[in-house]
C-alpha cells in the first residue's frame, strides 16, 4: 500500500477518499467573484479616460461562457444592481444590459450548443463592445466624437483581457469544486 502513488486516489479537485466539496464555497464563488470584479475599478484613479475594462461585466461573461448552466438567467438583475452602485453610469444601466446580455447568450447557445473558445471570445467581444458603446450613448452626458475616440483603448483592453478573465474563471471553478470538507 505504501508503495502506491499517493495521488492515485485523487483527481484535479483533491483526494476522493474521505473528502467532499464545500457546498457553501461551490455556490458562493461565482457570485462573489463577479461582485468583487464590479468593485475593483473603483480603486483606480482614472481622471482622463475610461481605461479599465468593465471587469464586473467581463467576469459575468466569463462565468457564463466558461461554465454554462452555473449562473441562472436572472443573475443579471441582482449582480447588475450591485454594479450600478459603483460603475458611474446612470442607475439601472447594468441591470438592463446584464439581463439582456444573459438572455442573448442563452439564445446564441440554443443555436450553437458546441462552441470553441474562439467563438466564445467573439461572443464576449461583441457583448463588451456593445456594452461600452451603449454606455457611451446612455452615459447621461452628451455623447461627443471625442469621448467616442477616447473609448478605443478601453475597448481594446476589454477584448484582449477576456481570455485572461476566462482562465481566471476556470481557476476559480477548480477552487470552487475542490474537496475541502472532511467527511
Amino acid at each position: 500500500m505504501e508503495r502506491m502513488e499517493p495521488r492515485a486516489r485523487s483527481d484535479a479537485y483533491g483526494s476522493r477518499i474521505n473528502r467532499s466539496h464545500s457546498s457553501v464555497l461551490a455556490n458562493i464563488v461565482p457570485w462573489a467573484s463577479i461582485l468583487a470584479a464590479s468593485l475593483v475599478p473603483v480603486f483606480f484613479i482614472a481622471s482622463a479616460l475610461p481605461l479599465l475594462a468593465p471587469l464586473g461585466f467581463a467576469m459575468l461573461l466569463g462565468w457564463r461562457l466558461v461554465r454554462p448552466g452555473l449562473l441562472p438567467v436572472w443573475a443579471g438583475l441582482p449582480l447588475g444592481l450591485f454594479d450600478d452602485l459603483f460603475s458611474g453610469q446612470p442607475f439601472g444601466y447594468a441591470i438592463f444590459t446584464w439581463s439582456v446580455a444573459l438572455l442573448v447568450i442563452e439564445a446564441i447557445e440554443l443555436r450553437m450548443p458546441w462552441r470553441s473558445f474562439s467563438q466564445d471570445w467573439l461572443t464576449a467581444s461583441a457583448a463588451l463592445i456593445g456594452y461600452i458603446g451603449l454606455g457611451w450613448l446612455l452615459s447621461g452626458g452628451e455623447p461627443t466624437v471625442f469621448s467616442l475616440v477616447a473609448l478605443v483603448p478601453q475597448l481594446a483592453i476589454s477584448v484582449i483581457l477576456f481570455p485572461t478573465l476566462a482562465r481566471l474563471c476556470a481557476a476559480l471553478d477548480r477552487l470552487r469544486l475542490s474537496r475541502w470538507r472532511r467527511v
Binding site: F44, S47, P50, Q89, F91, I95, L102, G140, G141, L151
Partner: protein
C-alpha cells in the same frame, strides 16, 4: 464547453416551472433596468442615497488603497530623485534663488493690494477649506469622469462645493454620502466652468470633452486672441469657484477658442481640499428663473445665457 442538458428539463414539472420562472425573472430584470435607467435620466440624483451608502460601506478599503497609492508614489518620487541628482540639484538651487526673489516681490504686491483694498473698504477674508481629504477612487470604467473624495456630509461637505488641489481646480461635489462624496471632474463631458485668461480678462467657458482635454469656448467671438500656452484661471462667475485658481493651459487653437490641458491632474494629487461655495447668493440667483425673479406672469423674452456650472448627472 457544451452546455449541460438543463435546458431540456425532462418530465419534472418542478424543473420546467423553475426554468420558465427564470426566463420570466430575467425579462422582468431587463424591463426594470430600463425603467430605472429612464428614471435616472430624468432624476440623476434619485439614486444618490444608495450610491453614497454603498461607497460608505467600501470606504475603509478605498481609504487604505488611497493611502498605499500616495505612499507608493512618494517612494517612487524619492527613488527617481536620485537619477542625475547632482545636475538636478544645481538647477533646483538656481531656480530656488530666483523663486525667493519673486516671493519677496509678491509679498510687496500683497501688502500693496491690502493697502489699496483697505482704501476701497473691501474685505479680504481668508476662507479655510471645509475638509482636506484624499481622492479615494473613481469610476474608471465609465464614460463619465467621477471621482470619490474621502470626506462627506459628516465633515460638512455639501453639494456644489468646489474641490481643488494645490495645483488647481479638480472639480465640484455632485453627491454626498456620510463619509465620502462624489466629485464631477473637470474632464467630464457635462462639466462647464467659467474661466478667464490669466494675463488679461478674456472670458470663456472651459467644457470637458470626455477625452482628458478641455474645450475653451470664448464668450466674445471675433478674432481669436488665444495663443498656445495661455493659462486659464477661474473667473468666479457663477458663484461656485473663488476667482484666480488655475484651470488649464491652451495646447491647440480652434475657430471659437481652443483646446486645453488641465493643470491639476487628479490622478497625480495626494490630498484635495473641499472649499466652501464662493458666493452662495450668486448660485441661488443663477438657479432662480428670471421670470420668477422679475415677478412677471408670462415668460419674458430672455436671451438664454449658458448656466455657469450646470451639471446634470
Amino acid at each position: 464547453m457544451a452546455p449541460p442538458g438543463s435546458r431540456r428539463s425532462s418530465y419534472s414539472r418542478r424543473a420546467q416551472y423553475n426554468l420558465f420562472t427564470g426566463y420570466i425573472v430575467a425579462g422582468i430584470g431587463a424591463l426594470l433596468g430600463m425603467i430605472l435607467l429612464g428614471l435616472s435620466f430624468f432624476q440623476p440624483t434619485l439614486f444618490g442615497g444608495p450610491r453614497g451608502a454603498a461607497q460608505d460601506a467600501v470606504s475603509p478599503a478605498t481609504e487604505t488603497a488611497a493611502r498605499v497609492r500616495t505612499g507608493g508614489k512618494s517612494l517612487w518620487d524619492s527613488v527617481s530623485g536620485y537619477y542625475r541628482a547632482g545636475s538636478k540639484n544645481a538647477a533646483l538651487k538656481r531656480e530656488m534663488e530666483l523663486a525667493r526673489i519673486r516671493l519677496v516681490e509678491a509679498d510687496a504686491v500683497r501688502t500693496e493690494n491690502a493697502r489699496l483694498k483697505g482704501l476701497l473698504g473691501l474685505l479680504d477674508d481668508e476662507r479655510p477649506p471645509v475638509a482636506v481629504a484624499r481622492l479615494i477612487g473613481s469610476t474608471s470604467t465609465s464614460t463619465r469622469r467621477f471621482a470619490y473624495v474621502g470626506a462627506g456630509s459628516r465633515d460638512g461637505v455639501r453639494v456644489g462645493m468646489p474641490v481643488r488641489s494645490p495645483r488647481g481646480v479638480v472639480g465640484r461635489i455632485l453627491e454626498t454620502g456620510y463619509s465620502n462624496a462624489r466629485v464631477l471632474l473637470l474632464t467630464d463631458p457635462e462639466s462647464v466652468l467659467p474661466v478667464r485668461r490669466a494675463s488679461d480678462d478674456t472670458v470663456a467657458f472651459a467644457e470637458g470633452r470626455g477625452d482628458s482635454l478641455l474645450r475653451i469656448r470664448l464668450i466674445n467671438l471675433g478674432i481669436n486672441p488665444l495663443k498656445v500656452g495661455d493659462v486659464f484661471v477661474t473667473s468666479g462667475a457663477g458663484g461656485y469657484y473663488s476667482p484666480g485658481i488655475a484651470v488649464a493651459i491652451v495646447s491647440e487653437l480652434t475657430d471659437d477658442g481652443g483646446v486645453a490641458r488641465i493643470i491639476s491632474d487628479p490622478a497625480a494629487t495626494d490630498f484635495v481640499a473641499v472649499e466652501p461655495i464662493f458666493e452662495p447668493e450668486a448660485v441661488v440667483g443663477a438657479a432662480t428663473p428670471i421670470e420668477e425673479e422679475l415677478g412677471v406672469d408670462e415668460p419674458a423674452e430672455v436671451i438664454a445665457t449658458p448656466e455657469p456650472t450646470e451639471a446634470a448627472d
